[in-house]
Amino acid sequence: MKILVGVKRVVDFNVRIQVKADGSGVTTDGVKMSMNPFDEIAVEEALRIKEAGNAEEVIVVTIGPKAAQEQLRTALAMGADRAIHVETDDEIQPLTAARILQALAEKEAPKLVLLGKQAIDDDNNQTAQMLGALSHWPQATFASEVEIEGDKATVIREVDAGLETLSVDLPAVISADLRLNEPRYVKLPDIMKAKRKPLETVTVEELGVEHVAAVKVLKTAAPAKREAGIIVESVDELVAALKEKGLI
């Protein structure tokens, strides 16, 4: 079976985000970009499924500008077999992303689509769910454990009440949570090999997907600065201070 894994190029998680002066977004010029950490977990899981003998091919796909090929090369260096780059300079919202993935899934016919549960840049947490609905495939989100057996996948998901175990028929969409696995380090020779692995480029139009921007971002603002605190000497003083602020 084939596994299709979606990865997104985002501002690296170590970078301190800076909001543009005009509030139109965050600064990405000269900022380190990386693969969305949840997507990296999804790639790792796909590779482990393949290494366990339950899949033959891992295909990674990204939607984004030319530079996003860096993230595809990283996934190829981790061990993915080939990559598809859906090249666009437009901002892609979850619904469009899901439609693109649906079109690719129809073309590639994978038994499993693995995605990160959300991207750390827009925190939407929608694409996997939308893809499941559009394809009429079962979905298992926030996976912390995945097991493949024949035409079924058993997925443990982290929910508020604890752990929930689902069994889904394949083909299915699974989204990866933080504790699913710890992604591997990439080896030097594999980085060199990754440069020669196949990477195909298509456009959104070629996939027959119409670009929709259902949501408009009105403003981006930095969190309000925390005000300096005060040190109180006693509980009474604390209670008085809280009362003064109308908090109790």
Partner: protein
């Protein structure tokens, strides 16, 4: 243990201006002479540029030679220097502008560019990759691999996935050997392998000890009304006394940003001096604060520089490898610039290798041609010309030394018939704490000045938490038993990232704590520790700061 290995013609350690220029020049020359050359560059930063910190005003001499068409190719040298102000600060409130004719000639900046060296390196890396160089960011060169005959065979990349206690985690991946006919070491100032090479091959036996400074830098986005793209400001004097060398800079970059910083020579004598606090309070002088008020600080970082100049340059070749850039120490202290000399010496290493290939087998040989090339290059010419600049400031203090420097550079053109030496290493200059007074630093105001931890936060520094500490003590008792009583453990104050603290343990005894995860890889501790007890080694690859346009 048997390790995997990969073979190249040339392995370059460090993707900075020197290493990348060497890589580019190697490929250019290989193309000209129609030979296949396998070249790889490894870089400990998580990406090219992540560990690059420099002023910077770039003198484009080396760039013109390497890529005469750099403009068409889109090199990020976008801001020509338009104004050049030098102030002598006399106190917190005051500063005198030095008339242009009184400024030593090497400090003039016509024809130079205000740049982010991080971005210049990213661009150089693109050029190198375009010519077929393999660049591997996120991999450290942790050890030197030697042949049986003692020549350098290559480097060993650091193991990944080792826990703090030394055990192997699930993600463990052993390092591999990168073997080469020639290895170019371009780690930057106080490279940890460069330091080992100097010892193994006694490379500095005919040189003065290297001298260093620590540069602490910030980038601010300022009020567009106050921004003057291309304006370059330097300061001498306050807050340092006349016998502590150092000075400040403030460069107006693109996009309403300024890059500013303060460099203090690491031969300072007062162990109470806090390098971070000196930098912070320097910003309060109106000559600097006038630009910053109403602005926002966006980035912070620090890096040691070498400033020993000509007298401290070691031998550059040894069997199997070459030293280039700040790993050897080509910064021109009079110009306060080392990027052009770093680039040029990288290019000289490339020429050395290609010309030696023509002459025969280069595998693990010593290419002494490198030393000859350096001696006949403009790098040597300019370092020779300014050789007495640093020692003059050291001997006579900022004012008298500065006057000498003016006379030497502007009247005699650096041709006075003598060479001064400074043979005391920087770690040996501290006076006992009891003999010195502690400066009284103002509390951070949260507008112009800040505390250390919120500063380190802006360097986007990250190290995998569960890994062995990369700051190693040869004798763990020295900080508390020796450095604390004698010097009030100066590591607490020279480290710009809050790595070193003296805290109380549960029994109320003093304890030396190392917060290695804060380390911005500046190397100051390795240089300044009076007992030379701290050794900086490479942490897990990809760790350290994540500088953007520093």
């Amino acid at each position: 243990m048997e390790r995997e290995s990969m073979e190249f013609d040339v392995v370059i350690v460090g993707a900075g201006p020197a290493g990348l220029s060497a890589a580019c020049k190697l490929m250019q020359l290989a193309q000209e002479t129609e030979q296949e050359l396998m070249v790889c560059v490894i870089e400990k930063g998580s990406e090219v540029g992540a560990h690059i910190l420099s002023g910077a005003v770039l003198e484009p001499t080396a760039m013109n030679e390497l890529f005469p068409d750099w403009k068409e190719k889109g090199a990020p040298l976008n801001v020509p220097v338009k104004g050049d102000d030098v102030y002598y600060l006399t106190g917190e409130e005051k500063g005198i502008k030095t008339p242009n004719f009184l400024v030593p000639k090497p400090m003039h900046n016509e024809g130079n560019y205000v740049v982010s060296m991080g971005n210049v390196c990213r661009w150089l890396a693109e050029q190198a990759e375009g010519m077929g160089v393999e660049i591997f960011p996120g991999f450290t060169a942790s050890k030197i691999v030697y042949n049986d005959d003692g020549s350098v065979k290559g480097v060993l990349t650091g193991d990944m996935g080792v826990a703090e206690d030394g055990s192997k985690k699930d993600s463990y991946m052993p390092g591999m050997e990168l073997l080469a006919k020639q290895t170019i070491f371009a780690e930057g100032c106080r490279g940890h392998l460069g330091k080992q090479l100097m010892e193994s091959f006694n490379l500095n036996k005919d040189a003065d000890p290297q001298h260093y400074g620590l540069g602490i830098k910030e980038v601010w986005t300022i009020d567009p009304e106050k921004h003057q793209e291309g304006l370059v400001v330097h300061t001498a004097g306050w807050p340092l006394d006349n016998h502590t060398e150092g000075g400040g800079f403030l460069y107006h970059m693109e996009n309403n940003q300024v890059s500013l910083g303060f460099i203090i020579a690491l031969n300072y004598t007062n162990p109470h001096l806090s390098l971070f606090d000196e930098m912070q309070r320097w910003k309060l002088n109106p000559k600097i604060s006038q630009f910053l008020e109403g602005g926002e600080r966006v980035s912070y970082g620090a890096r040691a520089v070498n400033k020993g100049g000509m007298q401290s340059v070691p031998k550059l070749s040894f069997p199997g490898g070459l030293l280039v850039g700040c790993d050897a120490g080509f910064l021109n202290g009079a110009k306060i610039k080392g990027n052009h000399t770093a680039m040029k010496t990288g290019m000289l290493a490339a020429e050395t290798i290609i010309e030696s290939i023509k002459a025969g087998d280069i595998a693990n040989k010593e290419l002494s041609l490198m030393g000859d090339k350096y001696k006949s290059s403009w790098v040597f010419y300019e370092l020779h010309k300014t050789r007495n600049f640093g020692p003059a400031l050291h001997k006579f203090g900022t004012l008298m030394g500065g006057s000498f420097a003016w006379l030497d550079q502007n009247i005699f053109g650096g041709k006075m018939p003598f060479t001064w030496h400074n043979t005391t290493p920087d770690h040996a200059t501290l006076k006992p704490a009891v003999d010195c007074t502690a400066p009284n630093y103002p509390k951070p105001d949260g507008k112009i000045t800040f505390d250390k931890l919120s500063s380190v936060f802006l360097s986007s520094t990250n190290h995998e938490e569960d890994q062995p500490c990369h700051l190693q003590l040869a004798d763990s008792s020295i900080p508390i038993n020796q450095n604390l009583p004698l010097y009030d453990e100066p590591a607490q104050r020279y480290c710009p990232a809050g790595v070193y603290e003296v805290v109380k343990d549960e029994q109320g005894n003093d304890k030396f704590q190392i917060n290695g995860q804060n380390c911005v890889h500046c190397k100051t501790c390795d240089i300044k520790d009076p007992a030379q007890n701290i050794t900086w080694v490479t942490p897990e690859g990809g760790g350290g700061p994540n500088y953007g346009n520093m």
